[in-house]
Symmetry: C2
Subunit: 270 residues, 2 copies
């Protein structure tokens, strides 16, 4: 099986892909857009995309890409993110003046960097910043990335677990062309639009509340070309193949202008 | 009056500050964090911060900063964003290989740049990228920023209105130390947390729906240290000094674990 992920080898997304899919061939992609494209074109069988981090919030671009592509969510995975400060061999902590990484990783270590007087510099990828650092040979800089990225590129770990908050998890979604019918406890992800009238969202949420269906996430994104109107993404516990969830979705269809089910999939068990 | 904004002179935020406050002294700040700090410390009297763009969505960092600072929202303003492609004098469109700007501006012109075969390069600010371009004297690059930024730095506009979607508006909030009591139609912004139980958000929205109060925005942000629990930000039409809104907020207080009113302020009239 070929699994696409965004980033360089050693990216957290690649680690999550191995954890979730097991022994697979991973396909590194430069952007989230190319991750989706690679699955659509058949270059890979599935992809694992980060959708939300417990500290930084949603990865909104991937919400937008789910909407623009005809793929199905078939699974979810939660990765505990443990950032390392990584440098060229022999570099000492006191030499490090700047830290290079993806903006989200920099944000998650902002307190640590401030306390050490280290400046943050943005790069497009965590593992990619380790690769860049190795190529440049810089001795006044470090990268923030996974332990695995340090190992792949033969670099040294100056400090491990430098994230400000240990409750640092990223939720990933597995997407592919064909939907699955989950067995056991499931979650369902949907996206819908509503009339722009008072009480519209309240009515939409009623279809879940009236059936005791548990919402685990609600996200709003701007509706393109209609300023201050929104798309709503909701995840709830249940499968569209269950009677109760099916009725809730039918009921939501009465209020929604548009409604799409992005997938029902097994709920992740830690 | 001194008004803080994020960015260099010529930034869209500075334009919005002049439009909203009139003839004031503007205080450029490098980060949103320093914008908030400048008001708290008394270095400026108020600030104008972007909170949402009609195409790109919310500026989540400013939601987080509103929570961390004890300032009041006292007004809102909607700016029509019109991006220009700006270059050093004499540079021709065919010479431009890359465009430098803030990631959000680059995103809003992504289609335009793709169609012209121009590569995007991220910078920390729109007007700042014009300044950088002038200093470098580069003749193979252009910046994306406001018309005013081109004028301030004596640069040439190659093309105006290059945003992919003309429905491009940014909503700004005016914040200061003292709250206001709005006259006429008002909006109120609140932030709250809920018990993590099924139906909690539905109950919270009921306090508005049952009173026909119109929600204009709902945004969720991660609750730090409690993975997959959320803070909810809501804007609704009404003032906390009105009987109906006051009762809705009292009612919400019955369900909410925490509830803070960020401000009631005059609703913007286009």
């Amino acid at each position: 099986m070929k699994i696409s992920f965004q980033g360089e080898p050693g990216a957290y997304s690649e680690q999550a892909a191995f954890d979730y899919f097991g022994s697979v061939e991973t396909v590194p992609c430069e952007s989230f857009e190319s991750v989706f494209d690679s699955v659509v074109s058949g270059k890979s069988d599935a992809a694992l995309i980060p959708i939300e981090n417990s500290l930084a919030g949603s990865i909104h671009q991937n919400y937008d890409l789910l909407l623009r592509h005809d793929l199905h969510i078939v699974g979810e995975y939660f990765l505990r993110v443990r950032h390392c400060l990584i440098a060229n061999p022999g570099v000492k902590m006191k030499d490090v003046k700047k830290a290079i990484s993806h903006p989200q990783a920099l944000g998650q270590c902002a307190g640590y960097l401030r306390s050490r007087g280290v400046k943050a510099e943005q790069a497009y990828d965590t593992a990619g910043s380790v690769k860049m650092l190795k190529e440049s040979g810089a001795r006044d800089a470090a990268a923030i990335a996974s332990k695995r990225a340090a190992e792949i590129y033969g670099m040294e770990i100056l400090e491990e677990g430098i994230e400000d908050n240990p409750e640092n998890y990223t939720r990933f979604l597995a997407v592919q062309k064909e939907p699955v019918v989950p067995k056991g406890e499931a979650k369902t992800s949907i996206v819908f639009t509503l009339k722009n009238v008072p009480g519209a969202l309240f009515k939409a949420l009623s279809v879940f509340a009236l059936r005791d269906l548990d919402l685990t996430k609600i996200e709003s994104r701007p509706l393109q070309g209609k300023p201050w109107e929104y798309l709503f993404y909701i995840d709830f516990v249940g499968s569209m193949h269950d009677e109760t969830s099916r009725r809730a979705l039918d009921h939501l269809g009465e209020y929604a202008l548009t409604l799409r089910t992005l997938g029902s999939y097994p709920r992740f068990k830690g």
